[in-house]
């Protein structure tokens, strides 16, 4: 035991004396959460729009008022004719132009029909889509208001509710993803680098010749990272709860348990990587290409798995991160317990056991 403590102390010296690894360990999680929380967002907020109002009557004014009073849009410019639309977009600030047709009010009352044209800047398709949806819904609301007194039989009014994330906050979607990425990065990449570093330096050989058993060496290398990853997970949860008001509906205990499970899973992957790479560079490349990319692309973090081609959907099943994200979203947003997450949990446990057995085998072969 005393030998073990000495080993761990040495490991912490390595970590705390290397600014780069310290930055990856603690700077990255905070930076990423902030980035995803504040900067990278699907939400629209105070989007600049222009208005081309050809009728300028009571109805159009009322609609324009409603639009400008919403927090989503701010009216940048009133333009006088169609030729200015293009110019308005080209300046780059304006993301949408609303065109009200002539005699809007009159047409609405007499022909029961008037058109608003929504022209959006689709160089960014996602934003364009969201803007047009939001404008439509404002128009629809207005329509319902003016029709309230009229008796229209058989009207279907869809009423949508965005369950578990009513305000469609994208940070709720990003937090589980970022947490997964960070834990993967810290646990798998950092451990594989730190183990291969000993190989490169030749100290691994010395450790293996010493009375320390191979598994003691590995546990000693891995233990500090378990500890640091747990701290990281706590930092991420605290940041998201207190800064981004992310709810944690389910049990904190379960959240902790599943996080530790995922950390151990990632660590075993890290050990596996270190058994197949001889240099720190290789370990880093394998971690980045082999782990980070699939985690970002195939885990459902950014791209929904259900809209992937079938082959990729099947492939996504072998990515541990996919299951962890499902678990995280379940616990944090839906508040479900182990009764509904046991399948994902068992998959993660099975993967972890598999990676550990595989690395023990690889390690033994190497020793021969």
């Amino acid at each position: 035991m005393k030998r073990f403590i000495g080993f761990i102390k040495k490991e912490f010296y390595h970590i705390f004396r290397d600014r780069r690894s310290l930055f990856i360990l603690f700077g990255m999680p905070i930076a990423q959460i902030m980035l995803f929380g504040f900067a990278i967002t699907n939400e629209i907020n105070n989007v600049d729009i222009s208005i081309l109002d050809k009728s300028k009557d009571a109805t159009t004014k009322e609609i324009i008022n409603k639009i400008s009073s919403s927090e989503y849009f701010s009216i940048k410019q009133n333009i006088a004719n169609e030729s200015e639309i293009e110019a308005s977009f080209k300046k780059g600030k304006v993301k949408a132009v609303l065109v009200f047709e002539k005699d809007f009010s009159k047409k609405l009352t007499k022909e029961n029909r008037a058109t608003v044209q929504i022209i959006t800047d689709a160089t960014d398709p996602n934003t364009a889509n969201t803007i047009s949806n939001f404008v439509s819904s404002i128009l629809q609301k207005y329509q319902q208001e003016i029709n309230r007194d009229l008796q229209i039989a058989y009207q279907v009014v869809p009423e949508t509710r965005m369950a578990y994330n009513q305000e469609l906050k994208s940070v709720f979607m990003f937090v589980p993803g970022v947490m997964t990425i960070i834990l993967m990065l810290v646990s798998a990449m950092m451990t594989s680098i730190s183990i291969t570093r000993e190989k490169e330096l030749g100290t691994m050989e010395i450790l293996l010749v010493s009375p320390l058993r191979p598994f003691e060496v590995i546990i000693g290398k891995v233990f500090p990272y378990i500890f640091l990853s747990i701290i990281n997970a706590v930092i991420i949860v605290l940041l998201s709860v207190f800064i981004f008001k992310m709810p944690v509906q389910g049990s904190f205990f379960l959240l902790g348990f599943e996080s530790v499970l995922f950390i151990v899973n990632a660590l075993s992957l890290g050990i596996l990587i270190s058994t197949i790479s001889e240099t720190q560079q290789t370990a880093m490349m394998i971690s980045l290409m082999g782990l980070m990319l699939p985690v970002i692309l195939l885990s459902g973090f950014i791209f929904p798995i259900t809209s992937m081609p079938l082959a990729l959907q099947v492939l996504s099943n072998i990515i541990p991160a996919k299951w962890f994200i499902i678990i995280l979203k379940g616990i944090m947003l839906k508040g479900v317990g182990i009764m509904l997450l046991w399948k994902e949990t068992i998959i993660l446990i099975a993967m972890t056991v598999f990676f550990i057995i595989l690395s023990i085998k690889k390690y033994k072969i190497r020793l021969e």
């Binding site: 005393k2 030998r3 000495g6 080993f7 102390k9 040495k10 010296y13 390595h14 004396r17 290397d18 330096l201 030749g202 100290t203 050989e205 010395i206 450790l207 293996l208 010749v209 010493s210 009375p211 320390l212 020793l367 021969e368």
Partner: protein
Amino acid sequence: MKNKTIIHVENLTKMFGDFTAVNAISFEVKKGEIFGFLGANGAGKTTAMKMLIGISTPTSGTAQVADFDVYTNPDGIKKNIGYMSQKFALYDDLTVKENITFYGGIYGLSPRQIKEKRCQLVDELGLEDVVNELVISLPLGWKQKLAFSVALLHNPKIIFLDEPTGGVDPITRRQFWEMIYKTAHNGTTVFVTTHYMDEAEYCDRVSIMVDGKIEALDTPQKLKQQFEVDSMNDVFLKLARG
């Protein structure tokens, strides 16, 4: 005392698939001896050494190192030997003191023993001024001496040196060999591999491996007589060229 056998190897063989890396080698090393283990790259030196230090299991044959069997008690061997490789294997981002504490610790020395050893070692090597400096700032020669002393911290019965003088200047090499002599004089057996034939002359006895077999084994003096040449270098060339 001097005649006690500390390494006893008989028909030791290591195969990797169909390839025989070490082919039935047999030799003995006496206590307090400086035993040179020579051979060209790929001759099987490193593989043989790995079996003797307990990190590789032989395919066949027998070997006892410091009275422990390589098959049944590699842990016993590990506790009683020291090992130093060409890379010196100190941690660059740890101080001299931390390196000593760490290596002492993994060999199970108590904090008091470590402190004693450290003071003694620092005194002998004249490291007083740099004991709290990171190892990375030390000159290569100092690192080499420190690595050697660290490998001796736990008073091993045998020290295995794997090309310990690679990449250092002749003066440092000379000083290093003085340390080796002193160690052997104190009763620790030294098992050393090297590429430098002048170093082979310093050994009590030398074995030369060619293609997995030991082709020659005797004192440098007798080997030179046997092959009718003037230097170990020529002995080696004669053997290696077949």
